[in-house]
């Protein structure tokens, strides 16, 4: 017999949510095409196909689910992963990253929604760990293959005009970072459709910009890509399974990502500052959800206890961040990845596989 409720919200299924995210991401694919032509499209397509095939094979093999790869989440992972790489990245590296993103980032956790870390960013770390070329400066010297260098929507003679042109189209950085305008429009679309809320991107960017402003007062020059920050905070930090699900938790999570990414930049993490920060906070998401559990109706909360918990959590996050800076300095991050591979494989074999048909 059917339990209540007997009506459902319309056009609100998981695939509808995924479809909205894809709509928000498609303009960025176009911007990448404008900048690097078929080089960009080839990499993105490689990622999408690898993700879909991996998702299908693994699900068919282990969970006997034959159409779950069509839910759209694999496409999003693929797009986000390819948006973080340079157009000069070899295609097989992207294919490897996509495979790892789906397998180690999502499926070994038990499938869609059960992953603790953002699969795309995890895939990126796998590429860096296994292909040393990914962390060299050479891979970012993209001048030779660029399609269009500049795009002049506004007159380029004034400072304001140049600034505005750069917002619309600027061909430096990774594949997804060429059009700040499209990134922001995509974010607004997702906020209007209630697929993400403003809390996470807003706090990340506010804290981050405050951090850079304070650092500049101490004559510290921070090297970062603002388009990358915005892209990451709108599309990657807001990934539903790996981010907190209440607004107060989101505010805390966003603030900590902003803060920790400043630490990473100060700690000489050249390219990975944002993905480290997001992955780090992903790891703490269950604790954030627990501590920031909404106050139930009529419930009395002991705010002293809560404050203490938040304080200790913050200390833990900062400690881990410092540890990661150290590991990064000695180039030990790859060992972290190896440990992760062993851990998640065992965890899947002995625990998560039993739960693979459970929706939660």
């Amino acid at each position: 017999m059917n339990l209540n409720p007997h009506i459902k919200a319309k056009k609100n299924s998981v695939s509808a949510i995924m479809f909205d995210v894809i709509i928000a991401l498609v303009p960025l694919v176009l911007a990448a095409y404008a900048a690097f032509g078929f080089t960009a499209i080839w990499l993105i397509t490689t990622a999408v196909i690898t993700c879909l095939v991996t998702d299908f094979l693994f699900n068919a093999l282990y969970a006997k689910k034959y159409n779950s790869f069509l839910d759209g989440s694999a496409i999003i992972t693929a797009l986000l992963l390819s948006f973080t790489v340079s157009p000069l990245t070899p295609w097989y590296v992207v294919a490897f990253g996509s495979f790892c993103a789906i397998v180690f980032g999502k499926l070994l956790w038990g499938g869609l929604g059960k992953n603790r870390f953002n699969p795309a960013l995890l895939g990126r770390e796998f590429m860096t760990a296994f292909f040393p070329i990914m962390s060299t400066a050479a891979i970012w010297s993209t001048n030779s293959i660029r399609n269009i260098k500049d795009f002049h929507l506004f007159a380029n003679d004034s400072l304001l005009g140049m600034y505005s042109n750069n917002l619309v189209f600027k061909t430096t950085g990774a594949l997804g970072e060429y059009s700040m305008l499209f990134i922001v429009l995509g974010g607004l679309y997702l906020i209007i459709r209630k697929r993400i809320s403003w809390h996470i991107p807003f706090t990340i960017l506010t804290i981050f910009l405050c951090g850079t402003w304070i650092s500049s007062a101490y004559d510290l020059e921070l090297k970062y890509s603002i388009a990358g920050m915005v892209l990451g905070s709108i599309f990657m930090a807001t990934d539903m399974p790996s981010s907190p699900n209440g607004y107060p938790g989101m505010l805390y999570y966003g603030s900590m990502i902003g803060l920790v990414s400043i630490f990473f930049i100060l700690g000489n993490v050249r390219f990975e500052y944002l993905s480290y920060s997001i992955l780090l906070l992903n790891g703490f998401t269950p604790f954030i959800n627990q501590i920031f559990r909404p106050r139930a109706w009529g419930e009395k909360v002991d705010y002293a206890v809560k404050t203490e918990k938040i304080f200790l959590l913050t200390l833990a996050i900062i400690t881990v961040a410092l540890a990661i800076i150290t590991l990064h300095y000695y180039d030990f991050i790859k060992y972290l990845i190896y440990i992760y591979i062993v851990y998640i494989t065992f965890k899947f074999n002995f625990s998560f596989i039993k739960n693979i048909h459970n929706p939660i």
Binding site: N4, P5, H6, I7, K10, P359
Partner: protein, 418 residues
């Protein structure tokens, strides 16, 4: 959370009569416990005759909605019902006439008790107990006109068409509870009622207010309504009277009016008949005990994969046996297409937690009901859940949230009982 109201379908139609069914199934259960029948199988009963009553703490009574012959007790969906075969002669018994306007408080309470008046919002708490104060002061008497369930317009129709009756009922109740003020809570989508209600302020010798409420679901939930009107956030399980608040539902007021001014026991109520697969839609006077099959035959366009819902679409119960009757707590009967579930994994979107009026985290109930982890279920405050269905309505993955909630509560009840 906002949900489609779908009220326009039946909002502006008058309350109509429908033919009585050939047989009634009178529910022999109330707020708590089972009613004891005082008639025998084969006995001829007249309309309004007392058929069953409970004399325990939560005493209430059931009367014959029509004259006819008792055909014994039948179990429908696990609950006892008294079967009455209608002879369509409408032979009524003579009830002692009352001069309601002069009735003393004690006399009014006695009539509410004898005439089986119960809360008509769903919980069916005996009304005479609700108004029976022990020297407690009442600051505010809230009239729950927030019919937050989609489709349902029975209370709206009463407020629109039977305004004077409702006010007469309120004035009588005020003789007992003497609240400092009376507040009508109605949703913004029904604000055209304001002028209709205001016209009757002059009948009252106490202050009356109207509070417009947001069109959110579940605005008509007792705790949510109290918060919207008094700003007080009462924890679940607390008695409104302890906070000097009394609430009554529109349907209850209508039943009280019929008892006090027309000398009629609670044998009939107004319900909305609606839903996507209903042809005859509207607000109707329906006798308590009318089986849904009767309404279904009157109204449905018969299709595959259909379901009949007693109550609203959010909290109502899908019937498996079409003999299931309209009770004193049924605000509507809906004929709806069965919903198709999507069944994805939970993606931790948090929509359920945002929709939850009690600010709980329903996905955690799904997680821990599966593993029967009572400690976690309690620490996530499952017992505060009001079963409104908002989480399951919004869930994009169709995680079995309601099943987990009911299952979890069952586990907790068993462990507490041990």
């Amino acid at each position: 959370m906002h949900i489609l109201s779908l009220k326009h379908i039946t909002k502006h139609v008058l309350i109509e009569n429908i033919p009585d069914p050939p047989e009634f199934y009178l529910p022999l259960y109330g707020y708590k416990g089972v009613l004891k029948t005082i008639v025998e199988t084969g006995q001829y009963v007249k309309k309004y005759e007392l058929l069953a009553q409970a004399e325990d703490l939560f005493s209430t009574a059931m009367h014959a909605p029509a004259s006819g012959i008792i055909e014994g007790i039948e179990i429908i969906e696990g609950k006892p019902h008294l079967k009455l075969v209608n002879d369509f002669k409408e032979t009524a018994i003579d009830l002692p006439l009352q001069k309601s306007v002069q009735l003393e408080p004690a006399a009014i309470l006695e009539i509410l008790k004898q005439y089986g008046i119960e809360g008509s919002g769903g919980a069916r708490f005996p009304t005479h107990l609700k108004y029976n104060l022990r020297n407690e002061d009442v600051d505010v008497f809230i009239i729950n006109g927030a019919e937050c369930e989609p489709y349902l317009t029975a209370d709206y129709a009463l407020m629109q068409n039977k305004t004077e009756a409702l006010f007469k009922s309120i004035i009588s109740i005020q003789k007992i509870i003497k609240a400092k003020k009376v507040v009508f809570g109605i949703e913004k989508q029904n604000k055209e009622l304001v002028t209709i209600l205001k016209a009757f302020y002059s009948l009252c010798d106490f202050p009356v207010e109207i509070k417009l409420l947001p069109n959110t679901y579940p605005q008509g939930g007792e705790l949510q309504l109290i918060k919207s009107i008094t700003k007080k956030e009462l924890p679940k399980g607390s008695r409104p009277l302890d906070h000097r608040i009394v609430l009554s539902n529109i349907g209850t007021l209508w039943a009280i009016y019929n008892a006090l001014f027309h000398n009629k026991p609670y044998v009939e109520r107004v319900i909305t008949l609606s839903g996507e697969d209903a042809v005859k839609k509207g607000n109707f006077y329906v006798k308590i005990g009318t089986p849904v099959s009767h309404l279904f035959n009157l109204s449905a366009s018969k299709k595959e994969r259909q379901q009949i819902v007693l109550g609203g679409p959010m909290m109502g119960k899908a019937v498996t046996d079409y003999k299931s009757p309209v009770t004193k707590g049924t605000g509507g009967v809906l004929i709806l297409p069965e919903i198709q579930n999507e069944k994805y994994n939970c993606i931790e979107c948090g929509y359920c937690a945002n929709a939850c009026p009690q600010r709980l985290m329903p996905m955690e109930f799904a997680r821990y009901a599966k593993t029967e982890n009572t400690t976690q279920l309690l620490s996530h405050r499952l017992l505060d859940c009001i079963e409104c269905g908002a989480c399951a309505y919004i869930c994009p993955s169709d995680v079995p949230l309601m099943r987990s909630i009911y299952h979890g509560k069952e586990i907790l009840q068993n462990t507490i009982a041990l």
